[in-house]
């Protein structure tokens, strides 16, 4: 388990560097979870847990300055325990959320620690020392690396036994309920998307998509193409309100 714990810890480091760096979405539960499955030699379970956690946590993205539960720690630890304990998706959900909350604490701790860095950077700036300011910034990567390596490594290395015993003691109705919650909670992600995109004029498009898929069963990719087409027509037919081209439109 030591080797797996180290490799998964390093995966968490890559993911957090991605989140605060290229933002390629390597940090998303769908991808960290799937890679965890590959690392632990059970890609099928990895995919199932990754897909479920991704949909449950679609709403937990960082918008503005507030930090949400850390889905990196949550997805890697959750998927790892789903595979290690052999209990699949429900174990992933049961372990994933508390792990994500621990990751959130680590994020807040890192951002507090890194506030101290600013004062060193101020001093280097005063001296016009560009190189030192750059290094000051890059050394933040060490803080963030530790912030995710430690919880993931410790959880996987130390936790397997106790967590397995804990999971085994969970009654069946809780396990069933958690599995069902994997189907219910994605509603939140969709609800959040709705609340951000919808206004009175755009509600019909949600209805069209829903009806297409639930009755006619059109594949999603085709819905996307149809949506672009309808959207373009909609925009062309909509008169601009006090448009940038004056009253002529």
């Amino acid at each position: 388990m030591l080797g797996a714990a180290i490799v998964l810890g390093l995966l968490a480091v890559l993911a957090i560097w991605d989140l605060w760096g290229p933002q390629s979405s390597l940090f998303a539960p769908l991808i960290t979870g799937a890679l965890t499955g590959v690392i632990l030699g059970d890609p099928a379970t990895g995919l199932a847990v990754a897909g479920t956690l991704q949909l449950m946590w679609l709403g937990l993205v960082s918008i503005g300055a507030a930090m949400p539960p850390d889905t990196i720690t949550g997805a890697i630890v959750g998927t790892a325990f789903a595979i290690i304990t052999g209990q699949g998706v429900s174990a992933g959900i049961a372990v994933g959320l508390p792990a994500a909350v621990i990751g959130q604490m680590m994020q807040n701790l890192s951002m507090t620690v890194l506030s101290l860095w600013m004062h060193r950077a101020d001093r280097y700036a005063e001296q016009g020392d560009i190189r030192a300011v750059e290094l000051c910034h890059l050394s933040g990567m060490l803080v963030y690396a530790l912030s995710r390596f430690l919880p993931v490594f410790l959880a996987v290395y130390l936790g397997a036994g106790p967590v397995e015993r804990l999971l085994n003691s969970i009654p069946a109705w809780v396990i069933d309920g958690l599995t069902v919650s994997g189907k219910v909670v994605p509603a939140l992600g969709f609800g959040l998307l709705l609340s951000l995109m919808v206004n009175k004029r755009l509600w019909p498009f949600f209805a069209i998509g829903f009806v297409l898929a639930s009755i006619v069963k059109v594949p999603t990719l085709l819905v996307g193409i149809l949506a672009v087409a309808i959207g373009i027509v909609y925009i062309q037919l909509t008169p601009r309100e006090s448009g940038s081209q004056g009253q002529s439109e």
């Binding site: 290229p22 993205v61 539960p69 919650s181 009806v211 819905v223």
Partner: protein, 276 residues
């Protein structure tokens, strides 16, 4: 290196010009922008890090560099993808105005970070990324490994090219670009919303896949509730839960509390065998 720097220091100001390489360096460094994100000044140190190639090129004395570095160490926070435009603009203003434009640059940054954060968050984090990830998750739940790969590739085609175009356009077209985009943003946002809404609508039935195993007994007759629901409208439960979550969000519930409430509801209703 130091000899070159010394020569440049006495060079006439007409030579103050950024190269394409400098702008590419800004674009490249954007990929490590938030690695020192902190509560005190959020992205400020990262901003100085990204602008370092520009500062190196344009300023040569210790005092000049100190002044340039300090203005970028002021509080800054916005969404990263759209921040590419601000980086491009900053580079243009540093080149044209130099340290005399100190307050103008600081003001431009402070003025843009709020509105741009809203645009970037809603286009990238609330529309494009969840669409890519939901599509990928749908494939993953079918056991298809293309799911995560497709999600990653789709997301980055847009994300990376937006950053590149943002830096270049921000630098070359500066202020003109922003006033021109003001009209375009609305069109882009509307189109993105329409596509997003239709795709979400179509994903609700398969991804919020709850059904009810509950039955009612009328005499000897046993009727499944799901059957009744289906005859009213298929997928009424997934739609109901989605609209319920939407309603809670409108009532200012935090996402974490909604997650916890939905898990609690699932546990209770499953225990009574009303949900599956």
């Amino acid at each position: 290196m130091s000899a070159v720097t010394a020569n440049r220091a006495s060079a006439p100001p007409a030579e103050r010009k950024l190269t394409r390489g400098d702008l590419l360096a800004v674009f490249a460094r954007m990929h490590l922008f938030q690695e020192s994100l902190n509560f005190e000044r959020m992205e400020a140190l990262g901003y100085a890090f990204v602008m370092a190639p520009v500062i190196r090129r344009l300023y040569h004395t210790k005092e000049e560099r100190a002044m340039a570095l300090k203005r970028h160490l002021e509080f800054f926070n916005t969404q990263v993808t759209v921040c590419s435009v601000v980086f491009g603009l900053t580079a243009a203003m540093e080149e044209q105005g130099g340290n005399e434009a100190d307050r103008a640059i600081a003001g431009m940054k402070a003025g843009l970070m709020g509105p741009l954060a809203g645009i970037g968050d809603s286009l990238i984090w609330s529309t494009w990324q969840p669409i890519c990830l939901s599509l990928g998750a749908a494939l993953a739940l079918n056991g298809n490994f293309l799911g995560p790969i497709l999600a990653w590739v789709l997301f980055n085609i847009v994300q990376v090219s937006a950053k590149y175009y943002g830096v270049m356009a921000g630098y070359h077209q500066g202020i003109a670009l922003l006033s021109r985009l003001k009209g375009q943003f609305e069109v882009v946002t509307t189109l993105a919303s329409i596509v997003g809404l239709m795709v979400i609508g179509s994903l609700v039935p398969s991804l919020v896949g709850v059904t009810t195993p509950a039955v009612v007994k009328v005499g000897d007759l046993t009727i499944g509730i799901q059957q009744i629901l289906d005859s009213i409208m298929p997928n009424i439960l997934p739609l109901g839960f989605t609209l319920f979550a939407f309603w809670l969000i409108r009532r200012k519930w935090s996402p974490l509390n909604i997650v916890l409430l939905l898990i609690a509801i699932s546990l209770v209703l499953t225990a009574f065998n009303w949900l599956a």
